[in-house]
């Protein structure tokens, strides 16, 4: 039993850190450091850079562009990325549709889509949730009726983040209403330019346009765009959701925020000195750090256990990572709010989006409150924390 990284792992971290230092464009780094949202153009540019390095899809099967790294290396890579700070690759592409295609897609689909998914030439969004189907996703009602070589889609999707940038959507539709709800679902790839498809923006409480609702009015989708078999879509979706859950702790994001909070607190004026002089503030930071260390160790243990088991079924313990990871992302965002104090109050949505000059200084404080409001979503998406607790109660405690 040994906590220390091996020499190889340390060398790998060094290599990855050096790459981010050199290859991450300065303007993208600056915007990420200020907490500004990554624009579509920036993400396309950055993912292209990673793709050319062969690092855009490290966890994919090696045959399809993965790096073959160990679980510890994957973890190190992600942590260094968050700490650079660099934008994550598009998770819809890299963590969701990519692995599903690799596992269940046809050879033709894999050959056509996977390289374009990795390079972000194709931008995918996720058509899963609906107004009546959130936690109860299987209750989805967007309908697909077979007509010759096509499915005709009618219905509505909700919380389709980045649909307004997307070229494609991976979409769960209902092809059979007669039996159990999980057994009548089909998994389709839909071209966002198909006639009858309308994207409407939803503004979230951070003031930004990130998500949308999407309406389908007799949208014709070729049967060739179906993944796997008709009515088997729920199985493919479950595979994806398990994958999504384990990537979601984002320890590096919380770590980066805590580090930033400490650095800023040493400069923010308070009383005769700075905020860092206040022992109560330092204790609040220390509280978050302890929880974060514990989460990091728990994540390493889950990685080690899954390595030992080699099974593809998601370890129910990943639900613990999801719950604590989301709580810590929220705690660390709130810590930054404490640091910013009154300077967090002025509203500047354009600056949040990376557009134009800040309405006032200090500019770093302008994104703190919107990011704190937006952080509330991490305990809701990816299977709400309450659903995660249901899963743990059932599969770990047997209740």
């Amino acid at each position: 039993m040994d906590l220390r990284y091996t020499d190889e792992e340390l060398a790998f971290r060094h290599e990855v850190r050096a790459f981010f230092k050199e290859a991450l464009p300065a303007d993208i780094r600056r915007r990420a450091t200020l907490g500004q949202r990554c624009s579509a153009a920036d993400l396309r540019r950055w993912q292209r850079i990673l793709y050319e390095r062969g690092w855009a899809t490290p966890a994919w099967d090696k045959a399809w562009g993965g790096t073959g790294w160990s679980a510890v290396q994957q973890y190190i890579f992600k942590e260094e990325l968050h700490m650079a700070p660099a934008p994550e690759t598009l998770s819809f592409n890299v963590n969701m549709i990519g692995p599903v295609l690799i596992a269940f897609g046809s050879e033709a689909q894999k050959r056509h889509f996977l390289p374009r998914i990795a390079s972000l030439e194709y931008w995918f969004c996720q058509g899963f949730s609906e107004p009546g189907a959130g936690s109860d996703l299987a209750a989805l009602r967007t309908q697909a009726v077979r007509d010759g070589d096509h499915y005709v889609i009618n219905g509505q999707k909700l919380w389709t983040s980045t649909a307004h940038h997307a070229d494609w959507m991976f979409c769960l539709v209902r092809t059979d209403s007669s039996g159990k709800k999980q057994q009548g679902i089909t998994y389709l790839l839909i071209d966002m330019k198909t006639p009858g498809l309308t994207v409407r923006p939803i503004i979230t409480i951070d003031g930004h346009h990130e998500t949308n609702e999407v309406f389908f009015d007799n949208v014709r989708v070729p049967v060739a765009n179906r993944i796997g078999e008709e009515n088997k879509g729920w199985d493919y979706a479950k595979y994806l959701l398990g994958n999504e859950r384990s990537g979601i702790a984002r320890v590096g994001v919380s770590k980066m925020r805590v580090r930033l909070a400490k650095d800023l607190a040493k400069r923010v004026p308070s009383g005769d000195g700075v905020l860092w002089d206040d022992p109560r503030f330092r204790e609040r930071v220390a509280t978050v750090e302890v929880e974060l260390k514990a989460l990091e160790m728990t994540q390493m243990r889950v990685i080690a256990e899954s390595r030992a088991q080699e099974s593809h079924a998601p370890d129910p313990k990943t639900s613990i990572l999801k719950i604590k990871g989301s709580e810590l992302q929220q705690l660390s965002a709130e810590l930054l709010l404490e640091v910013a104090g009154p300077d967090a109050l002025p509203l500047d949505i354009d600056f949040l989006r990376g557009i134009g000059e800040p309405v006032r200084e200090p500019e770093w404080a302008l994104t703190i409150a919107p990011n704190h409001y937006f952080a509330r979503h991490v305990s809701i998406v990816g299977g709400s924390n309450e659903i995660q607790k249901n899963i743990l109660a059932k599969s770990v405690l047997g209740l």
Binding site: M1, K262, K293, A304, L397, L399
Partner: protein, 384 residues
């Protein structure tokens, strides 16, 4: 990064877990508590037979030459069974001080007897005014020829009443709270001038307040360098924190299992109460707390031998904070989910609550360690 046990460690885990399962049922434990010293001498002999007492001593002293991981394995098993034997006091504290601070003659004289179960030790360090400050020592040691003379009072000495030998900290020089000037002295429990008043503690273990009045100690019974013993004390306390962290995890895990079992069995409104979502979620909250505590107990174990004392100590503080928080939550919610019977002495869950609350206080409370951690700037360093 490797979390696997070796084959030997796995065997140790299996054998000590089986031992605790067989010998530490709730009723059996109550009998041990009723014995004169508050623990079973027969069980202590069994510990010796199983090689548990000499686990971390060198083989030349009758030990197995094992490390912190093995201690963690044993402490977790003892925690599950709420064992009452003085393993922490004798082996981790007394044994640790002798193992790390004794000269070869002292090690040869004391460690084999400890390993064989023939010698009990206690660490008499805390005083009425010291709270959690390890450097705060008012008890004095005055050199007279080949002897030292000790005067002062120690309080809440773990298993101090039944110990054959006490390791006593006393100040040879310097102000009361100075880091320099502390010495360690091995004193017979029944030496002239030693007065012991033993009593049970909240977790039903034993402790003692001990007065030292002109107690004479030969120079050969000084541990380490008289006047420079604080680093040794801090090292052994770090090991103790790792050990009680593991013990707490064992207690928490067992408390959770008892609680989940109760939820499945207890029926109200015609159904098992474990079918109510509010209680399911509470049990899951306990599970998450246990897993976070387990992670930090592992962290503490692996950092307990870190040579850089500052790094080691802030890791121990971080671990103690998590252990304290998790321990209190699991203990309290365990009682809560048992409803009325959770409040009775007859129900095991309250015993877990008490032991976990005592562990929080021992070697520095959550608040103390949070303050310490905050004062050294926390865990995460500034950007490289």
């Amino acid at each position: 990064m490797d979390f696997d046990f070796t084959d030997e460690q796995r065997m140790l885990k299996d054998s000590v877990e089986r031992f605790v399962k067989d010998e530490y049922g709730f009723e059996q434990r109550a009998k041990y508590l009723a014995e004169p010293d508050g623990f079973s001498r027969a069980q202590w002999a069994r510990f010796a037979e199983l090689g548990l007492l000499g686990l971390s001593f060198d083989e030349e002293y009758g030990g197995s030459g094992c490390g912190p991981v093995e201690t963690m394995i044993v402490m977790e098993a003892l925690g599950r069974g709420l064992a009452v034997e003085p393993y922490l006091a004798t082996v981790v504290l007394g044994g640790g001080l002798v193992r790390l601070g004794g000269n070869p003659a002292q090690r040869a004289a004391l460690l084999p007897h400890m390993a064989q179960g023939e010698l009990q030790m206690a660490f008499a360090h805390s005083e009425a005014q010291s709270r959690y400050d390890l450097a705060d020592v008012a008890t004095t040691a005055r050199r007279e020829g080949d002897e030292w003379v000790i005067d002062g009072a120690k309080r809440i000495v773990l298993h101090g009443g039944s110990a054959d030998l006490l390791v006593v900290s006393a100040r040879v020089s310097g102000g009361r709270r100075e880091r320099d000037g502390v010495g360690l002295f091995v004193v017979r429990g029944d030496a002239a001038g030693v007065t012991r008043r033993a009593y049970p503690t909240q977790d039903r273990l034993r402790a003692a307040d001990i007065e030292f009045s002109g107690v004479r100690v030969p120079n050969s019974d000084v541990l380490g360098v008289a006047g420079a013993a604080l680093p040794l004390i801090e090292t052994v306390v770090a090991h103790a924190i790792a050990a009680v962290s593991a013990e707490a995890v064992g207690a928490m895990a067992a408390a959770l299992e008892e609680t989940v079992e109760y939820l499945k069995v207890r029926k109200q409104f015609g159904v098992p109460i474990g079918s109510f979502q509010a209680l399911q979620h509470r049990a899951v909250d306990m599970l998450v707390m246990v897993e976070q505590a387990r992670s930090m107990a592992l962290f503490a174990t692996m950092m307990s031998e870190e040579p850089a004392a500052g790094e080691r100590d802030r890791s121990m503080s971080a671990a103690k904070v998590q252990i304290g928080r998790s321990g209190r939550f699991v203990g309290q919610q365990g009682v809560q989910l048992h409803g009325g019977i959770g409040m009775t002495e007859e129900c095991k869950i309250g015993h877990y609550l008490r032991r976990l609350s005592v562990i929080d206080i021992q070697f520095g409370s959550t608040e103390h360690h949070l303050s310490r951690l905050a004062n050294v700037g926390g865990l995460i360093d500034a950007a490289a």
